[in-house]
């Protein structure tokens, strides 16, 4: 990961990735008794979808513009 830390964009991308993973890991403490989202999507499943929704665009931008091995 050293090469990702060299550039500002790399550091930002790692922060988004690690941050979303950490927030997802801690999320069960906040939605412990939460009802399903829209009455049907269980909270643990919705949390994972949110994680993907955060990582995916960050990944797309980072790898398209800044990937260190191009």
């Amino acid at each position: 990961m050293r090469e990702y830390f060299r550039e500002r964009a790399g550091r930002r991308f790692i922060a988004v990735f690690a941050g979303s993973v950490a927030v997802t890991a801690a999320a069960p403490f906040f939605f412990r008794d939460a009802p399903p989202v829209a009455g049907v999507v269980p909270a643990p499943f919705a949390a994972g979808l949110v994680m993907i929704a955060v990582i995916l665009p960050a990944y797309a931008v980072y790898f398209r513009r800044y990937w260190p091995f191009r």
Binding site: M1, R2, E3, Y4, F17, V21, T24, A25, A26, P28, F29, F31, R32, D33, A34, P35, P36, G39, V40, P42, A43, P44, F45, A47, G48, L49, M51, I52, I55, L56, Y59, A60, F63, W67, P68, F69
Partner: protein
């Protein structure tokens, strides 16, 4: 007879593929073990997706969701984040360094980073001890499929033997290249049968299909902590962290070494997130969280839900009628085993109840595809660990290609036999083999593996101290039944702390190693197309 001919024909088709793979292979160790480092993006994606999607995904995951509610989906999210992280940050480096130095196995690569034969032996043994039970999971899954298809418990062993024999023949004849190609075919069978059976069963049981099934659910069933209260917030978070450790699954790491070019590492994370995370793994989730519980909740349910208290009552009554004296603990254990087996077979039971009898065998083909696609890659990886890392690396360094291939093939037969014995001796829930045995075991080489590529200061003393201590804690907890499902946390914490502390307290790695694993890799990755 109909079922036997379908299963026999399927086996024959795979054998013909194996023979073809044998005829086109170059018969060198590199070709046999790493498919000549020539796997392109399309095959790589299916190769990886279906090498991690196994009988566990087909039976174990929906079964566990059915029994414990949606909390266990957190394991999949953790796995996804771990795999994506591996391909983003570590994959290019391990690919480049193994290509530059012609390393044939992940452990060989890590041992070279730390310049330690002892570490090579230790890491190989740790990974083998986790991978063999994981293969047992596949054999057991197919065994359960045969049992559910025929309704006879004695057919479990037939299914286990069927899978093991196919697996050995495919790997012996075709090596890693064929394992990758067979994964594409098996994955197609797997996806069609899994998705097809979901849609079919939902349409047969509910007028509005899956939407009706979901609407019929009690919201309490869709929330934590699940019907048996297992998924507390702490357990759910730990399950996520255990899943995250997928970044050091050896059969995933070795796939990075087979890549044709570095561009593969640009595409794999995106494909994994979209095709794997959003689409593929939603199928077992819908099976286990919506469809199967909704089927059990129908007024004239054909698929009954067993609960531990009810099953314990039945077992106690039967024992009493037969005049047998069972202790409370024995009754509880028997009830747990019965409920576990019943939940693991929930998909096949639903298929048997709602689809025509001729279709049941095709669903079992899907399970075989799922199990075989994973077991073949695991078997290949284990064979490489035994031959390349233990025998060649530690005891017979002068062995040539021919000897190495022969040893790999011998190791493959021995490993399959060991996994069959484990599946027979220890038939726990399919989901538990992966989450509680294999993944925590794989995690114990994680600090040495990840640290070796991102931290220049990490050295052999830290890697040896951490991995040995972590594995000892894990093994101790397993043997004495301590911290069930949680043992990986203290084991990994101690492993990591020792890795860092001992590395800091002992001399730095040599300049030669730093040049080979960092400077040369940076230059290579920056320049090659």
């Amino acid at each position: 007879m109909y079922d036997v001919s379908i299963l026999g024909g399927f086996g024959l088709l795979l054998l013909l593929m194996a023979v073809y793979g044998y005829r086109i292979s170059a018969r060198t160790a590199e070709d046999f073990m790493l498919a000549g480092r020539g796997i392109g993006i399309a095959v790589m994606f299916f190769f990886v997706l279906f090498s991690i999607s196994s009988a566990w995904t087909f039976y174990g995951y929906p079964g566990f969701l059915y029994r414990h509610g949606p909390g266990f989906s957190y394991f999949i999210w953790g796995c996804l984040a771990g795999l994506v992280g591996m391909y983003m940050f570590l994959g290019p480096r391990i690919w480049a360094v193994s290509k530059l130095n012609r390393f044939l196995s992940p452990v060989e690569t890590v041992a070279a980073r730390y310049e330690s034969k002892a570490l090579r032996f230790v890491l190989s043994m740790i990974i083998l001890s986790a991978i063999v039970p994981y293969m047992a999971d596949q054999a057991l899954g197919v065994g359960l499929g045969f049992e559910a298809l025929t309704g006879k418990a004695e057919f479990r062993i037939v299914g286990m033997l069927y899978l093991s024999m196919l697996c050995v023949l495919i790997v012996l004849l075709g090596g890693m290249r064929l394992a990758a190609w067979v994964n594409v075919v098996l994955g197609a069978v797997y996806t069609v049968t899994f998705l097809g059976s979901l849609v079919w069963v939902a349409a047969a049981a509910f007028p509005g299909g899956i939407a009706d099934a979901a609407a019929s659910m009690d919201p309490a069933q869709l929330a934590l902590p699940g019907p048996e209260g297992k998924f507390t917030p702490a357990v759910t978070s730990v399950v996520f962290l255990v899943g995250l450790l997928a970044l050091c699954w050896p059969h995933v790491v070795i796939s990075a070494m087979t890549a044709q070019s570095k561009r593969i590492f640009v595409w794999m994370p995106g494909l994994a997130l979209v095709a794997g995370g959003i689409f593929f793994y939603t199928v077992p989730f819908v099976w286990g969280v919506f469809l199967a519980p909704a089927l059990s909740g129908l007024p004239d349910a054909k698929v009954l839900r067993l609960t531990v208290p009810e099953e314990a009552g039945r077992i106690a009554a039967e024992a009493s009628d037969a005049g047998a004296a069972l202790s409370g603990e024995e009754i509880e254990r028997a009830a747990q085993k019965s409920v576990t087996s019943s939940c693991d077979k929930i998909v096949q039971r639903a298929v048997g109840a709602y689809m025509p009898s001729w279709a049941g065998v095709f669903v079992v083909l899907g399970v075989i595809g799922a199990a075989l696609s994973t077991a073949a890659v695991q078997l290949m990886t284990s064979g490489i660990l035994v031959s390349r890392d233990i025998i060649h690396g530690c005891f017979m360094p002068g062995a040539g290609d021919k000897t190495l291939l022969l040893i790999t093939k011998g190791a493959i037969i021995a490993i399959v036999t060991a996994s069959l014995l484990i599946a027979w001796w220890y038939p726990v829930a399919l989901a538990e083999y992966l989450a509680n045995i294999a993944t925590p075991g794989f995690a114990q080489w994680g600090p040495a593996f990840v640290g070796g590529f991102v931290w220049k200061r990490g050295n052999r003393y830290g890697a040896l101290a951490g991995s040995c201590a972590g594995f000892a804690i894990l093994a101790g907890c397993f043997i004495f039944g301590l911290l069930p499902g949680m043992a990986v946390i203290p084991a990994l914490a101690v492993n990591l702390i020792l890795y860092v502390a001992v590395s800091m307290a002992t001399p730095s790695p040599s300049k030669e190693v730093l040049r080979k694993f960092f400077d040369e890799v940076d230059v290579f990755l920056s320049k090659t197309a």
